[in-house]
Every structure is written in structure tokens, then in C-alpha cells.
């Protein structure tokens, strides 16, 4: 009897070992997707290890009818800043950035959360939230109500998370303040370039405004153990005076 139990046990162990040997590596090979859940901080380009630094951003080439107004606005902004009278922006009024600028605000971290069928991206600055619906077809642009985050769908291509976003409000300032139309499409390719370094290559395509897509890459460093901090814009002392200048409300005692 004891012998029979031993033989059965030995057979079971051998079978389990075989399953582990056969299926373990197969499972690993068929699932190269990294787990991106966690907090990530913007990784500055300067001084970063060249092996993980983001590549330089591509050029911004606008169609002629948009190029001159854009350049004039940039020059006016620079001149106003030089005078110490910065031009008001939406964020100055505590209006969140929306896509794609929310993905890189100063040194504020972002948090990625992977759950069944959805990846959620939460930013620390302004507590903005994006929801990426996985493995679903994208909606036609005209079916997406224009908003700050639009409609995002995602899919894995090997080790790369590809996110497609449409439906961003035309009134939102874009990357480098470039204008955009309601036809804008944002394609992101997120990939680990080191165990703790994530790149998000962002391609902005807008057949109305751009001569060719704008491509730039954001880099993030993983922040193990970081607890995201709340950010409710409750005490905004910046305001625009009747001359259009940004002023700071001084406090009393």
C-alpha cells in the first residue's frame, strides 16, 4: 500500500514537474507584456544615462495658414515673459491640461493602473484621469464628444502598449502650444527601455493643421513605493488683471 502511494506521489510530482518545465517557459515567451502598474516620474533628458534618455523631439511643421499665427503667438509670449508680464494660460486658472500635455507636467509623477480590460492613467498634477479601453475598436471621431481626454483604446504589440486617442477639444493648448483641429489623433507607444525606465513615444497627427505628424518621446523613471499626493486646486492666487497681466493676490494677516 505504502509502495503504491509512493509510486502515485512520484508520478504526480513528475507530471507537475513536466508541466512546469513545458508550460513555464512557454507562458513566459508568449507573455512579454511588462506590468506597468505603479508610479512613474518624468525623467529629464539632460544628465540621463544615454541608453535610456529619450530621443530628441521631431520638428513641428504646421501648414502655412497656421504657421505664422503660431510663430507670432510664441514671440508674443516670449516678449511678455521677458517683461515680467506672462500671458495667461488655462492652467493658470486651474483648468487641467488634458491630452497630450497632461503626460508631462513639470516634475509631477503619473500613475499607471492595469486592471481587466482597462489601463488607467492618473496624473499627480491636477489629479487628471485617463481611461484606456483595451482591445476595443476605436470610435469614429464624430462619435466622441470633444473633451480633455477624448476616447482612448489600447492594445499590446509584443512588449509595447499602443494607445490611440481621438476626441480632444480644439480649445485645449497642445504640445508646445501648437493648435489642433477636431481631426487630431494621438498615437502613443509605451515600452520599457530598462527595467525601471518607460518611454512614451507620442505621435500627433492632424491633417488639418500639420504638414506631417509631430513625434516626441517622454521618458519616466519608476518610483517604487511612491504614494501619489492629492492635488485639488483650491487656493489659486494668480489672476488676470484688467490689463491682461497675470498678477498674484497677496494675502492678509
Amino acid at each position: 500500500m505504502v509502495s503504491l502511494v509512493s509510486r502515485v506521489t512520484a508520478s504526480a510530482v513528475a507530471l507537475l514537474t513536466l508541466i512546469a518545465v513545458v508550460h513555464g517557459p512557454l507562458h513566459a515567451q508568449s507573455n512579454p507584456r511588462p506590468n506597468l502598474t505603479g508610479a512613474w516620474a518624468p525623467l529629464g533628458g539632460r544628465g540621463a544615462d544615454p541608453k535610456v534618455a529619450p530621443p530628441p523631439a521631431g520638428p513641428i511643421v504646421l501648414k502655412p495658414e497656421y504657421a505664422k499665427p503660431y510663430q507670432d503667438a510664441r514671440a508674443a509670449d516670449a516678449a511678455a515673459a521677458k517683461r515680467g508680464e506672462p500671458v495667461a494660460s488655462a492652467s493658470m486658472s486651474c483648468v487641467p491640461y488634458g491630452m497630450p500635455r497632461m503626460m508631462s507636467v513639470a516634475s509631477y509623477p503619473i500613475e499607471l493602473l492595469e486592471t481587466a480590460g482597462q489601463i488607467t492613467i492618473v496624473t499627480e498634477a491636477f489629479s487628471e484621469v485617463r481611461r484606456v479601453f483595451m482591445d476595443q475598436p476605436q470610435l469614429p471621431i464624430d462619435e466622441v464628444p470633444p473633451g480633455f481626454y477624448g476616447h482612448s483604446v489600447g492594445r499590446w504589440e509584443g512588449d509595447t502598449l499602443v494607445i490611440d486617442t481621438v476626441g480632444i477639444k480644439e480649445s485645449l493648448a497642445g504640445y508646445q502650444n501648437i493648435p489642433h483641429s477636431d481631426r487630431m489623433r494621438i498615437t502613443e507607444r509605451l515600452r520599457l527601455v530598462a527595467p525601471d525606465v518607460l518611454h512614451d513615444q507620442i505621435t500627433i497627427d492632424d491633417p488639418v493643421v500639420l504638414e506631417k505628424p509631430v513625434v516626441y518621446t517622454l521618458a519616466y523613471r519608476k518610483l517604487p513605493g511612491y504614494k501619489m499626493v492629492e492635488f485639488v486646486c483650491e487656493n489659486n492666487r494668480e489672476y488676470v488683471d484688467d490689463q491682461g497681466r497675470v498678477r498674484m493676490r497677496l494675502g492678509g494677516r
Binding site: S89, S107, Y226, G251, G252, R253
Partner: protein, 146 residues
């Protein structure tokens, strides 16, 4: 050639200034209203601390002869300050402090904090790099903080 050099140097200087301010970078407005090239030192008694977003504010009564001038200091956000070693109660009403600040260009008694010396001699800056602070592990990959 000289003009081109000045243009390049200007861009480099701008980059340096942006980098220096990066640690204290605001999520929501430009720092151009502050004279960051000409900081001043003020000492006084804290009257109010507002640990809020988008900025923390500290109000200060600074003695001037027989009276006092009231100053407002703008700091980074709580998140940025905590990464630089601040706690919400690092400074309290009644504390005597000395601050290096970038004053408003228009002459009003408002400013952007550069660094603050607490009553116990500790010196706190206006922020820190992302994710570096108490309870946060150092990065596994060697990089310069932004």
C-alpha cells in the same frame, strides 16, 4: 556671429534657469512675474501658513523701523515641497524665519521662495526632484533629477 553667439548663450541661460526652477516648477503658471535674477533676504514672524494646491503660501510680518511690512511668499505645491523634505507643519504661525526670495517685479510685497531658514537652523528649499523624499527608494537607474 556675435548675435548668433548671444542667441545661443541666451537659449543656454534660459535652459539653465528653467532647469533650476524645474525643481520648484509650478504646474500652473509662469514665474516671469518674479525677479529671479535679484533675490532678496527678509526676516520676520510667520502669520499664516496655507498648505494648499496649486501652491503653498507663507505670510510674514517683516519689521521695518517702528512698523512691519507684510510679505507673501509663494512656494511650490505640497507634492513638490514634500519631495524636498518639507512637512505640512514644518513652519508654524509665530515662527521667526529668514527667507531668501525672488520679489515680484512690480514692487508689491509678494515673492517666490528660494530658501527658508527655520528657527532651529534647518534650511528648506522650494521643492525637490520627482519621487525623492522620505520613504521613497532611490532610483535604480542613475539619472540626474529633473
Amino acid at each position: 556671429m556675435a548675435r548668433a553667439f548671444r542667441a545661443v548663450a541666451g537659449r543656454m541661460l534660459f535652459g539653465i534657469v528653467v532647469t533650476v526652477l524645474g525643481a520648484a516648477a509650478s504646474a500652473h503658471h509662469s514665474f516671469a512675474m518674479f525677479d529671479t535674477a535679484n533675490p532678496i533676504t527678509i526676516s520676520g514672524v510667520v502669520t499664516t501658513v496655507q498648505w494648499t494646491n496649486p501652491h503653498v503660501y507663507i505670510e510674514l510680518d517683516v519689521p521695518e523701523g517702528q512698523s512691519a511690512r507684510h510679505w507673501t511668499m509663494e512656494l511650490g505645491s505640497p507634492s513638490i515641497l514634500m519631495r524636498g523634505g518639507w512637512k505640512f507643519n514644518s513652519v508654524k504661525r509665530g515662527d521667526k524665519v529668514t527667507a531668501v526670495v525672488s520679489p515680484l517685479r512690480n514692487g508689491d510685497p509678494g515673492s517666490l521662495l528660494v530658501r527658508l531658514t527655520l528657527p532651529d537652523g534647518r534650511v528648506l528649499g522650494n521643492g525637490g526632484p520627482a519621487g525623492v523624499g522620505p520613504g521613497v527608494a532611490p532610483p535604480a537607474t542613475a539619472t540626474s533629477p529633473r
